[in-house]
Amino acid sequence: MSSPDNGFLLEIKNLIVFYENAIAINNVSLNFREGQITGVFGANSAGKSSLMHTVSGIILDMKEKEKRKGGERITWYGEIKYRGEDILNLKPSERAKKGIVLCPERRQLFSESSALENLKIGGYLADKTQGKKTLDYVFSLFPELQKLKYREAGFLSGGEQQMLAIGRALMAQPKLLLLDEPLLGLAPSVESRLAQAIKQIRNETKITIALSEQYARPLFPVIDYGYVLENGGIVLEGSSRELMDNPDVIGAYFGM
């Protein structure tokens, strides 16, 4: 299947997500254009992570676990269309097979495995030639990882861990790469390094990227289109330039 004529790889329509009675995502519609970087920005609790969980399918796993425990009831309404097909009730592993791969918040590496093993596990869905090719690509994107191959992932620095997490997601042969807060807790120099790498991925591969971030300054110049979330709803959207010129955005994110 190819994406529909409008050029959107992923379309979210009127999505509503409830955790018990608390509304996490309030009737949002977002579009992710094929081959571009789309950013979702917002403060804590704005709904960024819930959105990422809903798109990657993690929310199904959360729902199942809560149900077994007798905990919160998680419900959702609306539509998520990937290449024109509704995926809202597909398991995360099935979505990954279709090319939707999440690089989770706080990296979530396999910390007792070596860096190389993390990448190998990431290549679970790749065949041999794809795996080899992507591995070379990851090392060309992040040469730092080359000499850390055999070190346990848990002993890498924050920036190296984030590079590894992105590399691992790339190994899964994504068509839509979801980056949930890729710059969380990193030093400014590492932030710009990663922002450049994300741009490089867009320029050199056909991967469509959706990223969410709280602290948006290093990423605004990198994205093609962006949404600003607040309390589960969209308050602003526009191209990178439009957002950067918007006085509210300047006030909130650039501190001027």
Binding site: D61, K91, R107, F110, S111, K120, Y124, G185
Partner: protein, 288 residues
């Protein structure tokens, strides 16, 4: 010398008994308390194939291992999957299944000394003046091969790597396309096969009795707790620790102490190092 040789054999037996339990817990965090029951069940099925159906020994063993793999998979798919993620319920459910299997076997007539598997080879050889039966040599050899196979499987094959991924971080593995329920089914099934393999290898040394099932479970737990839950390296080291401690007490005290020793070591390890010898819970917290 006798002490060393029989210490090694006893330790290797403990590895065989516990590795399946340690593996199922290590890779899928499922504490399979039906482990001992699966051990005995395999022995019993093999006995039936061997003496009731008259199959050749090797075929009987292979068939019963296949059956136990299916039973393991069914145990996960039908029962454990419903209580996944709730450790206490998992323990109670799997222990309940184990109890049911063992007591059903007892009810069906598995009592007394009538049920025995023959050793693979009857002869024995001398190692440094100590007579050791070939069967015990085969046990040690098989355990070595099994450990190597497991290490290779979990480090260099895709299904094996997937199992370790799920064990370390389930959500991260899910979004990479790994199905956690399928991985856990494989893990429990593989654990069952390892329990069965241990049964087939070790039961010819004695009788197939129901009590042995409980004993194996206790040893498996002792080794896993002592070595650090889920750690293989720990399980192997702990097997040697407990194995030699048992042989030493049996030699210098009395043979019925070997059970007490296993439990005593659990207590000592838990007092001095609560996460076990190689337990790494909370040691590798992520750096933010």
């Amino acid at each position: 010398m006798e002490l060393v040789i029989y210490g090694i054999i006893n330790s290797v037996s403990l590895i065989l008994m516990s590795i399946g339990f340690a593996l199922a817990y290590g890779v899928s965090r499922v504490p399979n308390f039906a482990h001992g029951a699966l051990f005995i069940l395999t022995g019993y099925i093999t006995w039936i194939f061997l003496y009731q159906a008259g199959l050749p020994y090797a075929l009987a063993v292979i068939l019963s291992l296949i059956i136990i793999a299916l039973i393991g998979a069914a145990l996960y798919q039908l029962i454990l999957i419903r209580v996944r993620g709730m450790p206490i319920s998992e323990i109670i459910a799997s222990f309940g299944v184990g109890l049911a299997i063992l007591e059903l076997l007892r009810w069906a007539g598995l009592r007394g000394m009538t049920y025995m598997l023959p050793p693979f080879m009857k002869e024995s050889l001398n190692i440094a003046g100590v007579p050791v039966s070939y069967h015990r040599v085969i046990i040690v050899g098989a355990a070595m091969i099994m450990l190597f196979f497991l290490w290779y499987f979990t480090h260099y094959t895709k299904p094996g790597l997937a199992l370790r991924a799920i064990a370390q971080n389930e959500r991260a593995a899910l979004v990479l396309g790994i199905d956690s329920d399928r991985a856990a089914t494989v893990a429990v099934s593989l654990g069952a096969v390892l329990a069965g393999l241990a049964g087939v290898l070790l039961l010819p040394l004695g009788n197939i009795v129901v009590e042995m099932g409980y004993e194996v479970l206790v040893f498996a737990i002792a080794v896993s707790v002592c070595g650090g839950l889920g750690s293989w390296k720990g399980a192997v080291v702990a097997s040697f620790l407990i194995g030699f401690a048992q042989i030493i007490t049996v030699t210098y005290l009395a043979s019925h102490y070997h059970f007490v020793v296993a439990l005593l070591i659990i207590i000592i390890v838990l007092i001095t190092k609560p996460s076990g010898l190689y337990g790494r819970q909370k040691e590798l917290e992520e750096r933010v």
